[in-house]
Amino acid sequence: MQGLSVEFGPHGSAVYAVNDVSFELAEGESLAIVGESGSGKSVTVQTLMGLIRKPPGRVTAGRALFRGRDLLAIPDSELRQIRGRDIAMIFQDPMSSLNPVLTIGLQLTEALREHQELSEAEAERQALDMLELVGIANGPQRMRAFPHQFSGGQLQRIGIAMALVCKPSILIADEPTTALDVTIQAQIVELVSRLQKQLGMAIIWISHDLSLVAGFVDRVAVMYAGSIVECADVDELFSTTTHPYTIGLLNSIPSLTAENTRLVPIKGTPPNVTLPPTFCAFAPRCDYAEARCREQKPPLETVNAGHTTACWRWREVDHLPRSPAAAQRVKPAGAAGQEALLTVTDLKVHFPIRRGVLRRQVGAVHAVDGVSFEVLRGETLALVGESGCGKSTTGRAVLGLERPSAGSIVFEGRDYAGATGEELKQRRRDMQMVFQNPFGSLNPRMTVGRIIGEGLRAQKIGTRATRDARVGELLALVGLREALRNRYPFELSGGQRQRVGIARAIATNPKFIIADEPISALDVSIQAQIVNLLDDLKVRLGLTYLFVGHDLSMIRYLSDRVAVMYLGRIVEIGTTASVFGSPLHPYTRALLSAIPVPDPKAGGTRRRIVLGGGVPDPSKPPSGCHFHPRCPKATDICSKVDPQPRDFGSTTTGRHLVACHHAGEA
C-alpha cells in the first residue's frame, strides 16, 4: 500500500478518512492495524478490497499493489476476480454479516462456484472440509441450517470458513472478535492463528485492542485520525514505544497484575477529521505537543530497522516522564463499611416460553436462577460473566425494570421485590442506572438539559428554577460544558453522551448506582476517562455501585468485590484481590486466562485455558453444575449434584464463596 488517501463527502466539507497511508505485507506475515473508531483502519482495508461506496467515498491518492497489480487502478470486474479468491475478508459482527435468509451451505459454496467454477457437489465437498477445519461439527446437516440457528462464536467460525474456502493468500479480519465474549474471542484468535500456519496465508487484523493483537501478530501499525502514527514489530512496539498516542493507549489499559494506580486516560475528545491533515491530529490531546505540532504534519521517521513513527518529538518522548504529573495519584481506597445497603436473596427471573393453541406455558428461560449477594454501603460490587449469563437481568431486576419471579431484594431494610407504582418510584429516587449504550439510551429528540432534568421532574423535586440550577451543577460535576445543555445527543461524542447518562443517573442524589456495562461501547482512550469519573463521583457523593461488566481488567481495577456469573447463577464471589489473585472456580480461571494482556512476550508463556463450546441455552440448563459440559475438571458428581457455595475465605481475605465440587482441590 503506497500513500493511500481516501475522502468522503463533498469537496468543500470532506471527511479526511485516510491520509497518506503506506504499509507492506509479506507473504505469510500477520500485520495488525490498531486504532479507535474513526481512525480510518476499516476504510483503509475496505478501499483495498473495493468495498467502499463511491460516492460518497473517493480515493484521492495512492496505489495498492498486489503481486504487481494496482488494485485501485484496475476495473471492478477484474478486482472482483481477486476479491474472495486471493484476498478474503471476515467482518466484525458475524450475526449481521451473514445473509439471514440463505442457508449456510449456499453461502459457503457460492464463492467457490463463482471463482473456481466447481460443480455443486465438488463445491459442497470443499465447503464441508472447510467447516471441519474451523471446528463446526455435523457439517452435512449444518450446511442446510440458517445463520440464526447458530451462536455468535459458531457464526464467526462459519464466517472464517466462508472467507477461506478459496484458499486466499491474504485474509483481512476487520475486528472479528469485537462482538464476541472473551472466552469465544480466545477460541477465534487461536483458530485464525492455526489456520494461518496451516494455509500459509498473510493476515491483516484490524482491531481497537492493542492487548489482543499483542499475543499473535508479527507487526503492528497504529492509526490515528486517518494516518499511521507508529509502525513496528510487535515486540519493538511494546518495548520501545515512541509515539505519544501509542503510549497513551497503553496507559489507558488497566493492568491485570500490577498495583491499582489511577488510570491515565488520553485527555480530550476524538479527533476532528473534517480538517485537512496539515498538522499532527493528535496534538490537541498530546502532553508533549508544541507549536510545531499544530502547524506541520510530522512525517514517518525511522526509529530502528522496521520501526517508524510520526512525531516531531519522538527522540525526547523517551526521556520525558511516561505518564505526566497528575497520573501517579493512587486510586482512592474504597471506604466500604460493613453495613449492607442492598441484600438480594435467591433472586430468580424467569421468562415464560409459551406454545400451543392456547399459549400454555411450556417452559421458561432461566435468565437469573437463584442469585444471592449483598452490596455493602460504599463499596463497588462487580457482576461479571459472558453474554447470556444473566448479569444485566440481575441489575435490571434490582432496579425493578424486570419483575422477579422469586426471591427478595432488600434495600435499606425494606423488601421491595415486585413492587409497583409509588413504592417503586420512591426506590428509584435512591437507586439509578447508567446504561450500556449511550448511543441508544438517550432520547434523540430531547436536549441534554431535559434528559438530565427529567428524573427530577418525574420525582417532583424542586421548582423549575432549582431544577435548572441542579442541571447546571450536574453538567459541571460530570465534566461537561454548560453550553451543551441545549444540544441534542447526536451532536455529542460517545464519551460525552455517557457523561450525560451518568449525570441523569445521579440527578436525584441516589445512594446506589447500577452501572450496566457503562464503558463497553466506548473507545479505549475514552473508557479510562469514564471510569475515572465514576471513581471520583463515588468518593464525592458517597455512592455505592453495582457494576455489571464483562471487561475483567477494568473490573479488577474498579471493584472491591466481584461476583462471577454463569448461566443465571453466581459461581464465585469474593473480594477482588482473592477472586483475581486465587480464583477457585474453573470458569473464573478460564475467564481470567482468556483476557488478552498488553505484552507480546506473555502470549507464549501464559497458559491460556480455551473453553470448548459456548454458553448453553438458558431454557434448558445442564443438570447439576451448569458449567460441567464445558468444565475441564468435571467428574460424575458435577452432572448430578448442583454444587452449593462454600466459603474459602479467611479473616484476612474476607468471604470467598465458590460453587464448585472441586474447588480447593490440589
Partner: protein
C-alpha cells in the same frame, strides 16, 4: 405451525361474529327498505300492500328477531335469499366472485411485479435521474384515485386510441374466449393496479435501500460475486420481506377499489352486485357480500403470515 393456524382460526370466530353485528346494523340503518325501494313513483301502492310485502320478507319483526333468524341461517351455511329476485345469496355470490377474483388477482400481480421491479431499479440508481423520474411517477401514481385512473384509461385507450374495449368481460354477441376476456380485463386491472404499483414501488425502494446498507451485502461483495447475484440472491430476497405486509394491507383496499372499478367498467363481479343491492336495499345480499369479503380478507391475512415464514427462516410460528 399447525397450532398457530388453529389459534388464528379460533380468534377469527369472534371477529366474524362482530362483523355480522356491524353489517346487520348498517344494512338496517339505511334509510328505507327493500319494499320501499321496489315501489317507484309509477307504481303507487297502498299501505296494505307495503305491509303485506314487509310481512312476506320478515321485515315487520323486531330487529333482534331478524338478526337471530339471519344468524341461524348462516350457521346452517345459508346466506339467505335476495329480497329482489328471491335467488339464493350464496348462489349469486358464487356466480360473480370468480370475476372479481380474476380482476383483483391480475391487478395485484401487475402491481406487485411492476412496483417491485421499478422500486429495486430506483434503489440501485439512488439519487440518479432514473430514481428521480420513477419517484415522480410514483408520486403521480399514488395521487390519482382509482376511479379517475379508470376514466382516464377509458378515455385514452378505449375512446381516443380505440385499442381496447371500455366495458364488460367479453364482446357482446361473440362466444366467450379467454383472449377476448383478457383484452377486456386490461383496462380495469390496470386502473386498480397502478395506484398500488406506486405504493409497492415506494416500499420496495425503501426496503432495497435498507438492505443495500446491510453488512451481509458487503460480505457478498467481498466474496467477489457478480453484481447481479449480489442484488438478486442476497438483496431482493431480504427486501421482499417487508413488502409482504404491504401486500397484505393492499388486499382489503382492493375490494373497495373493485366496487368502483367494476361499476365504471361494468365488470359483472361482486362489486357491481354490491352497488346494485345497495340501490335496491337488498339487505341479505349486502350482508352476504360483506361477510364473504371479511372471510377472504382474514384468510388472506393468514396467508400473509405464512408467507413471512416461507420468506424469512427466522420467523417461525408455534
Amino acid at each position: 405451525m399447525l397450532s398457530y393456524l388453529l389459534r388464528k382460526l379460533l380468534f377469527s370466530i369472534p371477529v366474524l361474529f362482530g362483523v355480522t353485528v356491524i353489517v346487520f346494523a348498517i344494512a338496517h340503518a339505511m334509510p328505507g327498505d327493500a319494499v320501499l325501494a321496489m315501489i317507484t313513483a309509477e307504481a303507487p301502492s297502498s299501505e296494505e300492500l307495503i305491509a303485506m310485502r314487509r310481512g312476506e320478507l320478515g321485515l315487520d319483526q323486531p330487529l333482534y328477531v331478524q338478526y337471530l333468524n339471519w344468524i341461524g341461517q348462516i350457521l346452517h351455511g345459508n346466506l339467505g335469499r335476495s329480497f329482489v329476485n328471491g335467488r339464493s345469496v350464496g348462489e349469486i355470490i358464487g356466480e360473480r366472485l370468480p370475476m372479481t377474483l380474476e380482476l383483483m388477482g391480475v391487478a395485484l400481480l401487475i402491481a406487485f411485479l411492476l412496483g417491485t421491479t421499478l422500486g429495486v431499479i430506483s434503489a440501485l440508481r439512488q439519487y440518479k435521474l432514473t430514481d428521480y423520474s420513477l419517484t415522480l411517477a410514483g408520486f403521480v401514481g399514488v395521487s390519482i384515485p382509482d376511479f379517475f385512473m379508470g376514466l382516464l384509461l377509458v378515455y385514452v385507450f378505449a375512446l381516443e386510441l380505440r385499442w381496447l374495449p371500455s366495458s364488460g368481460i367479453s364482446t357482446a354477441g361473440d362466444s366467450f374466449s379467454l383472449l377476448d376476456n383478457l383484452k377486456h380485463l386490461i383496462l380495469p386491472a390496470a386502473a386498480l393496479a397502478l395506484f398500488r404499483a406506486a405504493i409497492f414501488m415506494r416500499y420496495a425502494r425503501a426496503g432495497m435501500l435498507e438492505v443495500l446498507n446491510q453488512s451481509y451485502m458487503r460480505t457478498a461483495k467481498a466474496k467477489g460475486l457478480r453484481p447481479s447475484t449480489i442484488t438478486l440472491r442476497h438483496g431482493l430476497r431480504n427486501a421482499l420481506i417487508p413488502l409482504v405486509t404491504v401486500f397484505g394491507l393492499a388486499l382489503p383496499t382492493l375490494f373497495g377499489g373493485s366496487v368502483v372499478i367494476e361499476t365504471i367498467f361494468q365488470w359483472p363481479g361482486i362489486g357491481l352486485m354490491f352497488i346494485d343491492s345497495v340501490v335496491n336495499r337488498d339487505s341479505p345480499v349486502i350482508m352476504g357480500y360483506v361477510l364473504i369479503t371479511a372471510i377472504i380478507v382474514m384468510l388472506a391475512n393468514l396467508a400473509t403470515d405464512l408467507a413471512y415464514s416461507v420468506l424469512d427462516p427466522r420467523v417461525s410460528y408455534d
